[in-house]
Symmetry: C2
Subunit: 187 residues, 2 copies
Amino acid sequence: MLLIRAAADEFSRQGFHGTSLSRICKAAEISMGALTFHFSSKAELADAVVETGLSPVRALVEHVAQRQAPPLERAVGLAMELTRLLEADPLVRCAVRLSRERTGGSAWPALWRPLVSSLASQAHESGQLDVGALPDDVTLLIELLVRGSEVSLQGADTSAAAGHDGSVARLQRSWRLVLNGIAPAAH
Amino acid sequence: MLLIRAAADEFSRQGFHGTSLSRICKAAEISMGALTFHFSSKAELADAVVETGLSPVRALVEHVAQRQAPPLERAVGLAMELTRLLEADPLVRCAVRLSRERTGGSAWPALWRPLVSSLASQAHESGQLDVGALPDDVTLLIELLVRGSEVSLQGADTSAAAGHDGSVARLQRSWRLVLNGIAPAAH
């Protein structure tokens, strides 16, 4: 786990292409032989960082899928908790960034978009949404807000991102506007 | 300009750290001597890509600042046009990505956030916003939506991103929800 964290730190600083295995060895204070015993290539190590970093995301999605609460609250709660994970854990941030650099970023939203979409449909069916708010559009809006928070948190390195706090609070303020709309009530 | 486009293409594929000047020479079909005559380092070339790629963004911001239209429409129009630029021009996408990798991404939102903020304040003063919608929160919401679109468009390479169309239409659908709110009207 120390090795994975050290690798994540290097990937965050230099990106996948700019990171060498020898730098990771130095940072983790292990020999190249010890590293390659576990991971035969940089790609394999990056895959392990992504796998480890996305595992709390998977656990969160499973948790929210089983929660008992109105669907819209669960969808928004998921968006908030995803942002909280990105904000709190440099390893999650690194995994999301690596998956974006290496696969165009589809792996990360693919983990939670289906649940948001299903909850938006349930919210529509149970009358939690205005008749003009289509579930697909609500899903898209939540996705844009989560990904906007994601990129605001992804600085050039993890230390810069760690200094950037309050993303969950920012998302909450935005969500309040989305619920009630920003146009004057008489509109 | 061919050199700048070739460099942007390499930076988009490999990131700043993973790109070498020799690869750029090969892609642009020029000699290393010709390249270093213009740019003495990779950082200098990346700065030129950022400068060139962000210049249509600057022009757009100036244009919107001078437009005659209600402030909220101008703010949203700006968000749509920013997304359109990202979608249409690989050089703009590359400049935004490079500025994010190298400086934590503050240069790009700093270009347009002040105008969005000023327009949100004007919209508030002229009664275009609901009394519960504070200008700072509206600014933040627009920023999250633009940056969510940005990251959705920034795949691992430009060819993947170019295949991802319809971002402006997606943002328009989201914006319609934001205007009227997603909670039932009786809420």
